[in-house]
Amino acid sequence: MDFTALRKQFPVYAYEDIVYLDTAASSLTPQAVIDGMNEYYTRFPVNVHRGVYRLSYQATEAYTAARETVAKFIKASFEEIIFTRGASSALNLVAFSYGLSVLKPGDEIILSALEHHSNLLPWQAVAKQTGAVLKFVPLDPSGRITAEAFASTLSKKTRIVALTYVSNVMGYITPLKPIIALAHEQGAVVVVDAAQAAPHHAINVKELDCDFLAFSGHKMCGPTGIGVLYGKAHLLKAMPPIEYGGDMNDHVTLHDAVYKDPPYRFETGTPPIAEALGLASAIRFLQDIGLDAIAEHARHLREKALAGIEAISGITVYNPTTETGIITFNLDDVHPHDAVTYFDADGIALRAGHHCAQTVMQWLQVDATLRASFYLYNTDDDVKRFLDTLRRARTFFTEAGF
C-alpha cells in the first residue's frame, strides 16, 4: 500500500501544509466519506422510516445498508447495531439503560484508571444512583491492565466490567479475551470502549464475546456526530430505552406506549442519516486499505519516531512499549502547553493536555502531557518533520531557561 499517495484522498492537505498527529482525538476526513454524506444531501435528503414515497424509501434503504455495513465490520447482526452520537453517548446508553436496571446496592463495577472520562463518568453517576461500588483494576508498573490483575479485582459481586480496548493515552491493547472469559465465569457483563481500537483493528465481537462495544465515527475517518453501540441481541431486547419520542414506538395511547424492538427502540428522533452513510463509506475506505496494513503502518511510524525521540536528551516518553501508534511524552521541565505552541508554529498538530483521562495523568503523576498519534495518512516525512521540530524545541526551551 502506498500510504503517501493516499494523502491525496484527504482534501485538507490541499489547503494546509500540516503534520497532523492528533488522530487519537479526531481523524482527518477522506473525500470518499464527504461523498458518502453528500450523496444523501444531494440525492435523497429526506427523512427515514416515515415517508411513504419513493425518496424516503431510498433514504431508508441507504440508512439500512449503512447499518448492515457496520454490522459486518464488527461481525455482529443488524439488530445489534445502534447508531448513537458517538462512543460517549453509546457508553452512556449502556450505563443508564442496562446499568440502571440491573445494578443493586453493593454490586461491583470494574473499571481501570486508563479509562477515558466517557467510560468513567457514566459509571460513577450510575453507581451513585444505585449504590453499586466502583472497583479499579490495578495497573502494572508500565501502566497496563493485565488479566492477572483483573482476576484479582473480580469477585462474585461483579456485575459489570467496563474497560478500554486501546488506551487513548498509553496506546496499550487490553488483553480482553481472557478478561471477558473470566468475567463471564462470574456472570458479569463486559462493556468495551473501542473508540481507539476500531480505527486500527479488525474487531470481531463474536470472537471477543464482549456483551457491549462502543466506538465513534470521527476517529476512523468518518464524520463527527455518529457512533455505534453494539450489544448482544438478548441483552438489548431486555433493555429499556433512555430517550423517548418519535420512531422508537410501535403503538401509542394517552397513557402508555409499546416500544419497537432493538435497534430502533434506542434511536428516537430523526437519526444522523448522512453521518451513518459517511460512517459506512469510512468503513469501506478502511477495509479497502486493510486494517492490518493500517495498524502496521502506524506502528512503523511510531517506532521510527520513538527511536528518534530516544536519541534526544531531556524528553520523557511515558509509554515506550506501546503496540499502537500513540506516543505520550513531555519535554522535561516544559509545560506541554508551552511545548505545543512551538510545534504549532511549525505546522505540527499535537495534543497537549490531559486527553480526557485525568485518572491516567494522576497515575503518571503529571499535570498533563504531549501526545503524538500516527495514522494511515502520516508518512516518514511527517516523522522527520516532527523530530526536527522536537530537536529545535528542546534546544529553544533549554536556552530560554526552562
Binding site: 509545560h335 506541554p336 502547553h337 508551552d338 505545543v340 505552541t341 512551538y342 504549532d344 508554529a345 497537549a352 493536555g353 490531559h354 495523568m361 499535570d367 498533563a368 529545535r392 529553544f396 530560554a400 531557561g401 526552562f402
Partner: protein
C-alpha cells in the same frame, strides 16, 4: 520562530522562573478567586487586598504553563499601588489587548505588554488571561468572599 521568541522574551521567563508575590495568605481582608481551565489543567488562584480604594496587595498561586504562571506574577507586580479604578481599567485593557480588540495604548501596561505576542497564538489566549480574569473578579467582590470556578 521569531514570533515565538518574542513571546517568550525575557520578561515572561523572568517572572516564570522568579515569580513575585507568589503564595496565598490566610487573611479575611483579602478577596480570593480560583479559576481552573479543565482543558489544559491551568489552575490559578488570585487574592487581592483593596483598602481605601488602593490595591494594597495581590497574591497568586497555582499550576500551569509559563504564560499562565508568569502572567499572574506580572499582574501582581503591576497592580500593587494602583487605585481600584485604575486596576480595573488596566485589566480591561490587558484583556482587550490579548483578545485582539482595540485597547488604550496610553495606559501603561508596563511588563504586561510582553504578552501582546499571544494574539499570534489564539490557542494560548486562555493561558494569558486566566489570572487577569480571576483578578478582575476579585475586584468585583467583597473582602472575605471566596469563590470556586
Amino acid at each position: 520562530m521569531d514570533t515565538l521568541e518574542n513571546l517568550y522574551r525575557q520578561i515572561i521567563m523572568d517572572h516564570y522562573k522568579n515569580p513575585r508575590h507568589k503564595g496565598l495568605v490566610d487573611d479575611p481582608l483579602y478577596v480570593t478567586k480560583h479559576i481552573k481551565n479543565p482543558s489544559c489543567g491551568d489552575d490559578i488562584t488570585i487574592q487581592s487586598l483593596v483598602r481605601e480604594d488602593i490595591v494594597e496587595d495581590v497574591r497568586h498561586d497555582g499550576r500551569g504553563c509559563s504564560i499562565c504562571c508568569s502572567s499572574a506574577s506580572v499582574l501582581a507586580s503591576l497592580m500593587i499601588g494602583k487605585t481600584e479604578h485604575e486596576a480595573m481599567t488596566l485589566t480591561e485593557n490587558y484583556l482587550n489587548m490579548i483578545t485582539g480588540k482595540p485597547f488604550d495604548q496610553a495606559r501603561d501596561l508596563e511588563d504586561a505588554l510582553a504578552y501582546q505576542g499571544v494574539t499570534k497564538f489564539p490557542a494560548r489566549m486562555k493561558c494569558a488571561t486566566i489570572a487577569w480574569q480571576a483578578f478582575g473578579a476579585t475586584l468585583n467582590k467583597k473582602a472575605g468572599e471566596t469563590d470556586e470556578q
